[in-house]
Subunit: 526 residues, 2 copies
């Protein structure tokens, strides 16, 4: 029997707080440190390993975290998710994004259909459509092949698919599987749509409108923007547009689209990269086989996340260490630092995934919690970040826990040897060096050149960025965030905090404002 309890009511949390703190500087020194790096590692799918040697944990802390994971019933709660319980209690919905890439437990029926069948059916529909586009069976009105696909969506309909596209664009070029170039329009700022439209050949472009409800302000506005452009170019918009939406949305049955692909209420935007939301644009850009590989990688990682033993479950372990840093050590933010240019926008996706899921002050029963929940997340790729904000990370007055991601091999494979090493080796040398610099520091009589150390980090090490590994990485973080939400007893699957702004913006546009809002509207010339 599952019970949903606040973190501070759990006996094992009280125990955890009493466990002696780990001195990372000592722990990581000398041969002991070397042993630690060898041992503090748990295998992930697709050749990844999660290494937590430089985190402020030891056997005692890990044991206490394991007890907490058990008392908080993380494995059982994940089971409830994938077996189709109503875990998104606020919105009274199931949480089924895992099912887009596999079936971890029982068959789940909702709305009278088997949901796994529903998701695979949409994938098949998308694959068929994409194959026809690539084969020139679906073309523009002049019978010419499409060359570009443009995703129109915002938030979860943008960040995840965009991060994945950017991560695999060069891989696809190298492997001759870049079928269509992809572009993305998200912001309601008219400069966003205008700039994308100026950069493409609209006559050979296929647009995907992505909105679950079919009512997202930004997306509908940008759809109109694009329709105008198509019309001005003398084109029939309906021959250039497809929709990804829910079956009940106004977009679902419209004649305005070449095709409509369906999502449902059981997958939140930020968890929708492996649903039709990511499926349509990525299958069109790279081919359905490549999208299927992303799903395979994610499914393999999901499977590991079902393990009951925290020490064999990388997402659960990563989650619990994060909780320890947030609630016991009191660190308010976390930086995500992939040492891979391909992952340039992956931190932006994780920022949404994490902050929108767990940035909550009430538990799943709507009662205020009295402990910190989700941290602020930010990050940029290394080595770029080293020449930017790492100064604060090394010597600032606050400690920011770090999550590195590194790969043994580059993606494109073109490299140069300078001073006896390749660029890829230099990249890897830098991430290794940073972990040790943050952990161990370095004493200097000149205090300005002194590094205190004791700054915790983990690293996920993989072979290279490819569709399968990227899928695994994506699933790892989705599951990590889900587990943390369980520990904090929040509903990680709604986002009521975005509503008030929408409501007030509507009032401004209707000129139904007074007080401060009326004056701001005036100052902004609305």
């Amino acid at each position: 029997m599952i019970s949903w309890n606040n973190l501070d009511t759990l006996a094992s949390y009280q125990e955890l707080e009493k466990v002696e703190r780990v001195n990372i500087i000592e722990a990581m020194a000398g041969e002991n440190g070397a042993e630690r790096v060898r041992n503090y590692s748990v295998p992930m799918a697709e050749g990844f390993a999660y290494n937590y040697a430089a985190k402020s944990v030891d056997a005692k802390v890990l044991a206490a975290l394991g007890n907490l994971a058990e008392e908080a019933q993380l494995a059982e709660k994940f089971e409830a998710v994938y077996n189709g319980e109503v875990v998104n209690t606020g919105e009274k919905r199931l949480v089924l994004h895992h099912m887009t890439r596999g079936q971890l437990g029982n068959a789940v029926t909702a709305d009278g259909v088997d949901k796994r069948a529903f998701y695979t059916e949409q994938q098949a529909k998308i694959a068929d459509f994409a194959n026809k586009v690539h084969a020139g069976e679906i073309t523009n009105a002049a019978g010419e092949k499409f060359t570009t696909v443009v995703q129109i969506g915002i938030g979860g309909s943008d960040l995840g698919p965009r991060a994945i596209y950017l991560a695999l664009e060069n891989w696809a070029k190298k492997n001759n599987t870049l079928k269509l170039e992809a572009k993305f329009i998200s912001n309601v700022d008219p400069d966003d749509a205008a700039a994308v439209l100026n950069s493409i050949d609209v006559a050979h472009s296929l647009f995907i409108i992505v909105s679950k409800s079919g009512t997202t302000l930004e997306t509908l506005t940008n759809e109109s923007f694009v329709k105008d452009a198509l019309k001005n170019a003398g084109l029939d918009a309906s021959k250039h547009m497809t929709a990804v939406t829910s079956e009940t949305s106004p977009l679902a049955q419209s004649d305005d689209y070449l095709a409509a692909f369906f999502m449902d209420d059981y997958i939140g935007g930020r968890y929708s990269s492996t649903s039709a939301v990511g499926g349509a644009v990525l299958s069109l850009a790279f081919g359905p086989e490549v999208f299927a590989q992303i799903l395979d990688g994610a499914a393999a990682e999901d499977k590991l996340a079902t393990k009951k033993n925290m020490m064999e479950n990388p997402a659960m372990l990563d989650a619990m260490i994060g909780v320890y840093e947030r609630n016991v050590l009191g660190y308010p933010s976390t930086a995500v630092l992939p040492y891979s240019q391909a992952l340039s926008r992956f931190p932006a996706h994780l920022q949404q995934l994490d902050m929108e899921s767990n940035g909550k002050s009430v538990n799943r029963f709507g009662e205020p919690v009295s402990y910190p929940t989700g941290p602020s997340i930010f990050g940029e790729p290394g080595t770029n970040g080293q020449h930017s904000f790492y100064q604060l990370l090394h010597q600032g007055t606050d400690i920011v826990p770090l999550q590195f991601v590194g790969f043994k091999n580059s993606q494109i494979g073109t490299d140069v040897v300078i001073q006896g090493s390749t660029s890829q080796q230099k990249l890897c040398a830098n991430v290794a060096a940073q972990i040790v610099a943050f952990a161990c520091g370095k004493a200097d009589e000149n205090r300005n050149k002194n590094f205190e150390g004791g700054r915790p980090s983990s690293i996920i090490i993989g072979e290279d960025v490819n569709p399968r590994s990227l899928g695994a990485l994506l699933a790892h973080f989705e599951n990590k965030v889900m587990f943390q939400g369980f520990v904090w007893n929040v509903n990680s699957f709604d986002q009521e905090g975005v509503q008030l702004g929408k409501l007030l913006a509507k009032r401004v546009l209707a000129h139904e404002t007074d007080g401060a809002l009326a004056v701001f509207s005036e100052l902004l010339n609305i």
Copy 2:
């Protein structure tokens, strides 16, 4: 006489802590709130205004902050900067970035030359070179015009110039002043250079190597990468390369370059956008006249920053409110949220500017300080962020102060009317709505839909993003960060925190490691 004292030794800081806290919810309600929005505003250059109505300040807090600004001698310290005192004490250097765009005080002579004359001379050299490239007087070996300029630099040689280029690319297209398309290579990850090289026509590309010391690992490596590519294409690399470096660097007198433009030790990387570092790439991309407009905007804003009265000095006021939030209210991070797609990478530049300048734990005499200094900075453009991390900003357990930037007009000017409003109006309506939603909140019996409010924000409101306004915005933030550094008594102009990582990375590449570092090197296949 200037004295450099720690914040917690100042009498006015003790006084500030005693001032009653402001209840933003009450302050921003009703007609009082409207009055506040009208009055809590200070004009900036280029049509901007800094509006701090939704910050947790009132007349009493502002008076106390004004006293603190006075006791901390902010105006006098800025005077010392622009009159050429050795304010970068750690490195024993002057701090002269303001002089690239004007002369605010005395003539400053260093290294035997008038520095203003030195900077304008470099600008003239760059302008002459750029004009010749645009006119086809400087061409590739085949006598063909260059079409693309590629900046090879990292950190301050990348983020600022890149953010500015992206901010003005569409403006330049619209105004027929995009002379060359610009690209940027920064990361030592070989995939960065390879992807950029795959995307351009190297035969018609001009490369700018930017490194003050001429020894930056990433930049020299990427230079070799590019030279290889040019050689493989049968081209003479020296006909495609220029350098921006210091006069004493190994790059300065090399025959490898068509031209070399000079910077000096008195301008830190993150403050170098208005020096030759930004000057070369932006003059080549947009024309020297456009770069001159950026300088004019920055100079106009600098002039406001010299005002002694905090209430007339937007950068100083912004800085002091930030100090209040950081040190008295205890907020650890700040989000920068420009409502303009053109400013998509401006937050990444500000992240470096702020975190690298003030992420320090020792004062300018190398003594540890016992109060928080620079906050963590992150941000994305609105409305995108609204559909991403704003959930946490509205309903998370931590309060994150916000810095909005909004513009009355779009940049490209193409727009659509949907439901009675343009996209630009929708964009502006959203930022207005957000400020009020964060400040005032909204009570709801369903605690999950409850917004507590009391979350402080400011907004800089301008006309549109153009070269002059962008220059002003850039200078505003540079000066804000400088003033905060003065208050915290840190040296905002060095970055010793980046050294240890570099040192350890070298050891890894030389295989001179043991302990934890040796094992990480092994795991990463170095």
